[in-house]
């Protein structure tokens, strides 16, 4: 309830100060020296991931996901249209993030600002460079007609680390997406069939966000850790353990730190895969 309205990432200032943040950081550092995070987690431990059962949108595929209290809702909508001129034989995928004003006192209504745009591009880059969605398979008439996939990412409740939550929710939503099949009728006009096809996806890509507080590197920052952080970085790992996209969000890191984080992220992806497989399996059953 207590907040000062300061813009996200303006200069070196933090996007939202809770009244205790300076005291909290002092205390956090004391605890980190003893190897502890204030919420009891170990340095590279992620918070609990929950996917809410039920249908909350009219999209082709959706996921309402909670990462330790951060709640996001992603919906995939489909349409058909012209491809981008520079990729005439690929389907179109567009990402959009809405930082809803109800998710945090520091979010104001209005057109996307640099933070929602950065988040959208972080998720998009992870999906694209990992080729999670096979855009080549979303072509109807090369050069003329392709499927358009709109990934709308709603942030409902900000308790830290939006990037990882949004990426995970988007991956799940795409895996569950069923779009209407479109074929060409004899006169060349597109006809929507009664059949549905799954969006073609491969090995899930996952984003891992680290923060640095003092000399300590932590995975999956909660809200207080994000506010107190001196530096923050997000990296995406694909099914083959390759690093496919990186975004240094704030501050600076040493090269040895970055290599170490890549190692940790690779390990964590394996752990997370079993969580994800369970979620997708349950999703199939209730579909």
């Amino acid at each position: 309830m207590c907040s000062w309205k300061e813009k996200l990432w303006e200069g070196v200032k933090l996007y939202e100060e809770s009244i205790g943040s300076s005291l909290m950081k002092e205390y956090m550092l004391k605890e980190l020296k003893n190897g502890k995070r204030v919420d009891g987690r170990s340095f590279y431990e992620m918070r609990e991931i929950e996917v809410r059962p039920g249908s909350y949108t009219k999209s082709c595929g959706e996921a309402w996901l909670s990462l330790g209290g951060t709640k996001v809702l992603v919906g995939v909508s489909a349409d058909i249209g012209e491809p981008f001129p520079d990729t005439p034989e690929k389907g179109v995928m567009v990402s959009n993030v809405e930082l809803l004003p109800l998710a945090s006192p520091s979010f104001e209504p209005g057109p996307p600002d640099e933070n929602s745009i950065e988040l959208a591009r972080i998720v998009d880059r992870a999906l694209r460079s990992s080729k999670y969605v096979d855009l080549d398979k979303l072509v109807i008439v090369p050069g003329k007609l392709v499927y358009l996939l709109f990934l709308d990412m709603y942030v409902l409740d900000h308790k830290g680390n939006l990037a990882d939550a949004l990426t995970l929710a988007t991956v799940i939503a795409l895996a569950k997406s069923k779009i209407p099949k479109v074929s060409l009728s004899s006169d060349g006009t597109p006809a929507v069939m009664n059949e549905q096809i799954s969006v073609p996806v491969s090995d899930p890509v996952m984003n891992f966000t680290f923060v640095k507080i003092g000399d300590y590197i932590l995975l999956d920052p909660n809200l207080d850790e994000e506010i107190a952080s001196d530096a923050m970085i997000t990296m995406a790992i694909d099914g083959q353990g390759r690093i496919c996209s990186i975004q240094l969000r704030k501050g600076f890191f040493r090269d040895v730190e970055i290599k170490k984080m890549y190692e940790i992220a690779r390990e964590k992806r394996k752990e997370l895969m079993s969580v994800l497989e369970e979620v997708l399996r349950v999703g199939q059953e209730t579909a």
């Binding site: 207590c2 000062w4 100060e17 009244i19 205790g20 005291l23 205390y27 605890e31 003893n34």
Partner: protein, 223 residues
Amino acid sequence: MNRSEVYVKDREIVIPGQKIAKGMTPGDNVYIDKEGFLRSALLGLASLEGNKVDVIPLASAYIPKVNDLVVGKIEKISGGTILVDINSPFTAVIVPPRNNKLGLEVGDVILAKVKAFDGMSSPLLTLEFEGLGKISGCVLLEIDPAKVPRVIGRRGSMLNILSSKTGSEILVAQNGFVVVKPRDHRSLMAIMRALEVIQEESHISGLSDRISKLLDTILAGGS
């Protein structure tokens, strides 16, 4: 002869607009409708004491009262006036005594007392008492201001349990902040969990015993 009627039990959960009584004295968060019925203005607990009816809010913002102890953060200093954010729709003000610098800067967190408040403009804070002023080296926890009385307890009994069991210094401000100097990490975790439970179960009797047991469990290594 004043005939009074009561439609709810003491400590019953009432919703906004609910009829509570007739012919009794309205207290906090109670309004009188056109037909003379006393109705709740909030989601809360009905409190019936003698002839008076109050509703204790289950959750609400902090509205300052004179003599309240508050934790605030210095927002702005201009001319002779210091603006303080006290987590309230009202921004508070300190007017430092002439020729007597308080040594405060923007961003400082302070403990102060509400000296004056007329219900409309900025509440006036004072630092003139022992123990007031800038605070540092502590942990600040935020609770629902409406639950402050429960955290303090009758004659400070609940606060005493929290502080003695965990060997930590604890201070509760009326505007929903708890200032803690924890003995160690586990004590802080115990206090945080206890505060959660106090707020969630504030309306169930036997809370002191439950909190006592909870603290014992956490301090011994459980959760």
